[in-house]
């Protein structure tokens, strides 16, 4: 009797879940766990049909596993999404375990492409080599690290690279804005920075802090979520922080961006200044790293080509700055070479 009861219990549990499942995804997913691939893909082809006749290109299929930087994620997602419309049978998946985490998986040969918001480090490249992974590096877009301050901050019109270094670098003694430059009010300063695991921090460390590392005391807060940094700066009159251009662009009504002076007069990050390189040293290229062995697979090659050919027109939509056209041509040549 118990057995019957127990199995009934399990059955009800399963049924309850099935109910939720059915309610949740109306038409989709009826294939079940052991579902049939052909039916699924046929379905996909139908849904996305019309974009390109099947005869035009050989039908590609297979899995492409991508992982890495969450900064590059929106770009790769955009490329995958559009690529899938033309090649519904190629299953592209993108993860976000961070630039460092991505390179680790890349070196172990677990993924085909690594998203990176900074160039690969020597030891990471060595690891990949040791793991038998040969790769190419492709830059896909620019991001302008934006230094932002509170809307009510009316004393900062620009900051120099040295001043940024003075504010953020390890061992900094800056406690109020008056310590930054003579003439600034003695408003207490509060700092906001992405966490030390992020490529954004790595780049800032290299470009501004001379690799000395960032200060770590009670005036600075770290967060992996850039929206938290936005809120921090927006809520503190003496706040200052830095993050990707997209996060400033979306919150331009709440924040003020700081023009950066690096010897050629203060430059504010805009689509133009980031693209033509005059917003220096804080405009950085974003990369994808492709495993050469994987590139032999036609679907991977097609995807990477698609990525380089089309990302320029999609970059602005997700908050990044496209490379100049001739740069994309150079990157495309690397795929062939």
């Amino acid at each position: 009797m118990l057995n019957r009861q127990m199995s009934k219990g399990i059955l009800m549990l399963a049924m309850a879940m099935l109910l939720v499942f059915a309610a949740a995804c109306g038409n989709g997913g009826s294939g079940g766990e052991t579902g049939n691939a052909p039916a699924e893909s046929a379905n996909g082809a139908q849904e996305n049909g019309g974009s390109k006749p099947a005869e035009e290109e050989a039908k590609l299929s297979g899995d492409i596993v991508i992982d890495g930087s969450s900064t590059v994620y929106p770009l790769t997602e955009a490329a995958a999404e559009e690529f899938n419309k033309e090649h519904p049978d190629v299953r592209v998946t993108v993860g976000v375990s961070g630039t460092g985490g991505g390179f680790e998986k890349f070196a172990a040969g677990e993924i085909a492409i690594a998203d990176a918001s900074r160039p690969i480090k020597d030891e990471e490249a060595q690891k990949a080599k040791d793991g038998g992974v040969d790769f190419i590096e492709l830059s896909v877009a620019y991001d302008g690290l934006s230094v932002v301050i509170n809307k009510e901050n009316d004393w900062v019109d620009h900051l120099t690279v040295e001043e940024l270094n003075k504010i953020f670098a390890a061992g900094s003694t800056v406690k109020t804005w008056a310590d930054v430059r003579e003439g600034f009010p003695a408003e207490p300063i509060t700092l906001f920075s992405p966490g030390a695991d992020s490529g954004t921090y790595d780049y800032f460390n290299e470009a501004i802090l001379d690799k000395k590392g960032i200060r770590n005391d009670d005036l600075i807060s770290f967060s992996e979520d850039d929206n938290t940094l936005v809120q921090g700066v927006a809520g503190n009159k003496g706040g200052i922080g830095y993050f990707g251009f997209a996060y400033f662009e979306e919150n331009a009504d709440k924040l003020k961006v700081v023009p950066i002076e690096a010897g050629n007069g203060p430059v504010e990050p805009t689509l133009e200044t980031i693209k033509d390189g005059s917003y220096s040293p804080l405009s950085r290229p974003l990369y994808i790293y492709v495993n050469k062995a994987e590139l032999e697979r036609p679907e991977v090659k097609a995807f990477v080509q698609y990525y380089i050919d089309n990302i320029g027109s999609m970059a602005a939509e997700v908050g990044y700055v496209p490379l100049p056209d001739e740069q994309y041509a150079k990157e495309a040549a690397k795929i062939e070479g």
Partner: protein, 291 residues
């Protein structure tokens, strides 16, 4: 005499006041939780209401918030539950029965017991690291649905074992003794006398553990669950994504529209949780009546 009565009355009035004050305190303690929770729910509902549309369930992730949905995440979460539920049920309840009914009461058993209770409090990311080492790398399951489900099974096992043990322990000794007195052996006693009466408690524990699992992100990110998945898993070894990962990704995006999507995603997640807890209550009531 009169003085004494006055003193008494004062004392009693004083106690009543204390009683009343504590009453207020406890009401306040209860309402803090409820009010904050309600505020959160209302806030999320307001943010997400406009996005609670079929698209959320029918569309795959997209760079455009207006076209993005969480179909693959919802299906991934549910598949994972379906794989995980029977596994953790059998293993967890089995271990609980052994520990409560069969295991000799010695030092080894106590050590195991201590371990299990400790494991129930270990941060979930640790299970992610364990899952990465064992399932993803050593067993070469890759970043698959199965690896994810097995990792989550490990995560919820201690909770299920502990709660099942509590339920089994709560069965009155007289039931067991009556069964033995009728000549039943151990398994017959366990199966026919103990488990039926412990079953509602066990089931509640299992479903609450499942509810915890469905909200977990960290261990799955660790073992390499994906964020962008534009297909439904066809078999156990396919890669997958789950609702909390998709929601986190949307929250972290710069564009405000994604935050509305995230709110809608949270509403869906809460609805699934609510359904599961509701099922737990229904099942418990059903079995409570029978025994």
């Amino acid at each position: 005499m009169g003085v004494l009565q006055d003193a008494n009355r004062k004392q009693i009035a004083g106690r009543r006041r204390l009683d009343f004050a504590l009453h207020l305190l406890f009401v306040a303690a209860t309402s803090v939780g409820v009010v904050v929770l309600m505020a959160l729910l209302v806030d999320i509902l307001i943010d997400g209401a406009s996005r609670l549309q079929p698209d959320l369930f029918n569309q795959y992730p997209s760079r455009r918030a207006s076209q993005a949905g969480m179909k693959s995440a919802i299906v991934g979460s549910l598949y994972m539950l379906v794989i995980m539920a029977p596994l953790s049920f059998v293993l967890g309840v089995g271990a609980a029965i052994y520990l409560e009914e069969y295991a000799p009461k010695n030092r080894l058993t106590r050590l195991i017991q201590l371990n299990i209770s400790t494991l129930a409090g270990v941060p979930s990311i640790v299970y992610g690291i364990l899952g990465l080492a064992i399932f993803v790398r050593a067993m070469q399951l890759d970043r698959s649905l199965l690896a994810g489900a097995l990792t989550m099974t490990l995560l919820v096992l201690p909770i299920i074992i502990v709660s099942s043990q509590e339920a089994i322990r709560a069965v009155p000794r007289s039931r067991r003794e009556a069964s033995f007195a009728l000549g039943a052996n151990k398994w017959q006693t366990v199966a026919r006398a103990v488990l039926p009466s412990a079953f509602p408690g066990i089931l509640t524990g299992v479903i609450l553990a499942m509810s915890r699992a469905i909200g977990e992100t960290a261990p799955l990110v660790m073992i390499g669950a994906m964020t962008y998945v534009a297909f439904l898993p066809n078999d156990l070894l396919d890669s997958f994504t789950v609702m909390p990962i998709q929601i986190y990704n949307w929250i972290a995006r710069p564009q405000a529209e994604f935050r509305e999507l995230a709110a809608a995603g949270i509403v869906v997640l809460l609805a699934v949780l609510l359904l599961m807890n509701f099922a737990a209550i229904l099942l418990r009531n059903k079995y409570n009546k029978k025994v």
